[in-house]
Symmetry: C2
Subunit: 407 residues, 2 copies
């Protein structure tokens, strides 16, 4: 019998009516399958709880925050189990603790270290649907921990890996992964399949369907992930290991990310240890940098540029201005009106001329490229923000993305 | 250093402002003491969760109900720990599981079987205030259980017993136990002390301050309970073992209960096994009977009367009409417009004439007594509901209750 892990996010279980709807959806897929259902907190519950925490404390302790937030998923599992039982199905809910999801001690952003599947396995063997709280686990000190943003996806994928499930279905309010944002590119196509690596590039490049951590985990353990709609019955997008034929398509998707800012340090003395000093200063501010570009030096000086989340950019500039003075750089400039557009595809590995075609396409539209970075299967350009949609449409057209979407 | 267990109920922690208030109250009592703080769910949280459960299922599974309801207290402990930390105190929250509160498997009305104090003790030794979720525990199968009505009081008393605390303070919206309901008797006095037995009689007779289960537990383990106000600093009422001098006062309190109904079975054949048959029929309907009165028989027949919670009375009547037919009784009559008034006091043991004085007092006011029952330290009369306040005031006067309130 096939074993399927399903995950429903917060908007799919936002109220009692939606929970009953999910229960019907689960019930419809139950015959002939063993089912584990992972759920998030209802709708805005987490935001509400975070709000309460900040009402009672200016800086809530991470351990107590986890204690607080873990209740959100616990409410949903109990209600979903009841709703399934009301449909005549056997169901049993499990907290992270009961599902034996062990994590490290890093409160609010814990990593899963081990899952002992015995108790969930027993539930399945007894003919029950196991309903498991996403987002939470237990440290080796028996402290309740949470996994951070996208944590419920991670719970689902990790359970699928531990239980050797046939597939992990992620139900969401979009119906799959598209070749580009359909709001920007009207003829964007839903992809039938993407490889883990492509999905990783797309996840980190701004396609909000799946968090990178879950995709990495799925790749590591070979879990097939099926991204599909809570509200429509159609199949969505399979995220799988790379398969024959995938490389025939050069560009699988075009993504854009408008949540970043760009910072440059000008005329940095080019000597060993300088980069470490610069990025050390930012790291101490807990800012995660995305793209980094350093030009070759001229006359012993170079310019360094990088992008980072827009919300972190003031903190970073303050830290960098100090560093700039101490190392004798000319100064720091920053720009929030930037966007990053990227093309992604495993086919790039075996096709030449992809980068030059991308640059030519942007140039033809009169778009200046401010920064470039490349990986094995993706090329990203930072451009002026106002050109973001134009760039995505032009690239989607030029590379004929979507023509092979049903590979 | 004195060890004190404090318990704050749902109305004391109903919103973030009240939680900050409780935190200040706890902080004020912290110097020089080890503190364990037990809290209930915020205000109407439990009602809200029960409502949600009934939205998704006509008959929610008790196990899932416990899973759901236990989140209420978990939210409060996290928020209170944060609020205490915000005041500069060290605090740590504990779920029932983490505080090692073990129960039997009777979901929604579990009994505490064992408390391993090790982890809470460690927290106290580390100079922390331990904030423990009331109302919840863990069965030996690691299932989350709840203790039923008044469960948080029970958690507090049980922790006080297990930790050998000096006192268990129950904070509530009244400021102590009164000689009668002050809404009915304007000159009712707050009692400085009551014995466990008196409090038990008062708890089961309608004074809503403390649930009987907690008082029984306190009596069994000799825990001194201090009932006091969340909102006022004055001392409240100590519930303790019987002490010298207590017997000098004949009547400690006058209570009334308007939540019951009366049922009589008329002309019951008086032969062995009949009572078992009658009350067996009610017990199978899960109805808990309070007073039972059976008159002596005449001509081989007797009447049987009893009181029971008003909400259960239709179910009981239906069951009894069947029994009445099968045993050849004349019929069943019932009355919802009754009240029970009682006088309570350990002094009754050593004073004669108390009952006759009670009956004379009621008679002088023209109040007919429908049923009488007595225990060693209490006498209760069922009367017509409309005379309830009058009866309480007359008895409070006649026995000069409250004159020795500060014994």
């Amino acid at each position: 019998m096939a074993l399927v892990v399903q995950k429903y996010g917060g908007s799919s279980v936002a109220d009692d009516e939606k929970i009953r709807n999910v229960a019907r959806r689960v019930a419809a897929s139950a015959p002939g399958r063993e089912l584990v259902v992972v759920v998030s907190a209802m709708g805005k519950t987490t935001d509400h709880l975070v709000g309460l925490a900040h009402q009672v404390s200016p800086a809530p302790d991470p351990r107590e925050m986890d204690m607080l937030l873990a209740t959100g998923e616990q409410v949903t599992i109990a209600l979903l189990a009841m709703a399934l039982q009301a449909l005549g199905l056997r169901a049993r809910s499990f907290t992270g603790f009961q599902a034996a999801i062990r994590t490290d001690r890093a409160h609010t952003r814990a990593r899963i270290t081990q899952i002992t599947t015995e108790r969930v396995r027993q539930s399945l063997d007894a003919g029950e649907i196991a309903v498991v709280a996403g987002f939470q686990g237990l440290s080796d000190e028996d402290e309740i921990t949470t996994l951070g943003r996208g944590g419920s996806d991670l719970t689902a994928v990790a359970l699928a890996a531990a239980l050797k499930a046939d597939v992990c279905e992620i139900y969401t309010d979009v119906d799959g992964v598209y070749t580009a944002d359909p709001a920007v590119v009207p003829d964007a196509k839903k992809l039938a399949r993407v490889s883990y690596d492509e999905m990783l590039e797309m996840a980190s490049l701004g396609a909000k369907v799946l968090q990178s951590r879950s995709v990495e985990f799925a790749k590591k353990y070979g879990v097939t992930v099926h991204v599909r709609s809570t509200f429509k019955p159609d199949p969505g997008t399979l995220v799988t290991k790379e398969e024959q034929g995938m490389e025939e398509v050069v560009v699988t998707g075009v993504t854009h990310d408008r949540s970043q800012a760009k910072i440059s340090i000008l005329r940095v003395p080019d000597r060993p240890g300088i980069a470490a000093q610069v990025f050390g200063a930012i790291a101490t501010k807990n800012v995660v940098v995305d793209m980094i570009v350093q030009n070759i030096s001229r006359d012993g000086y170079t310019d360094m540029s990088f992008t980072l989340p827009r919300g972190d950019h003031r903190r970073a500039v303050t830290a960098l201005e100090e560093v700039a003075r101490s190392i004798g750089a000319l100064g720091v400039v920053h720009d929030e009106r930037v966007a990053k557009v990227s093309i992604v595809g495993v086919g790039m590995r075996s096709h030449g001329g992809v980068a030059s075609k991308m640059f030519a396409t942007l140039s033809k539209e009169g778009i200046n490229i401010q920064m470039i970075s490349t990986s094995e299967i993706a090329i990203s350009c930072v451009i002026e923000d106002k050109y973001a949609e134009l760039a995505v449409r032009a690239l989607h057209d030029a590379f004929e993305v979507g023509k092979g979407a049903n590979r």
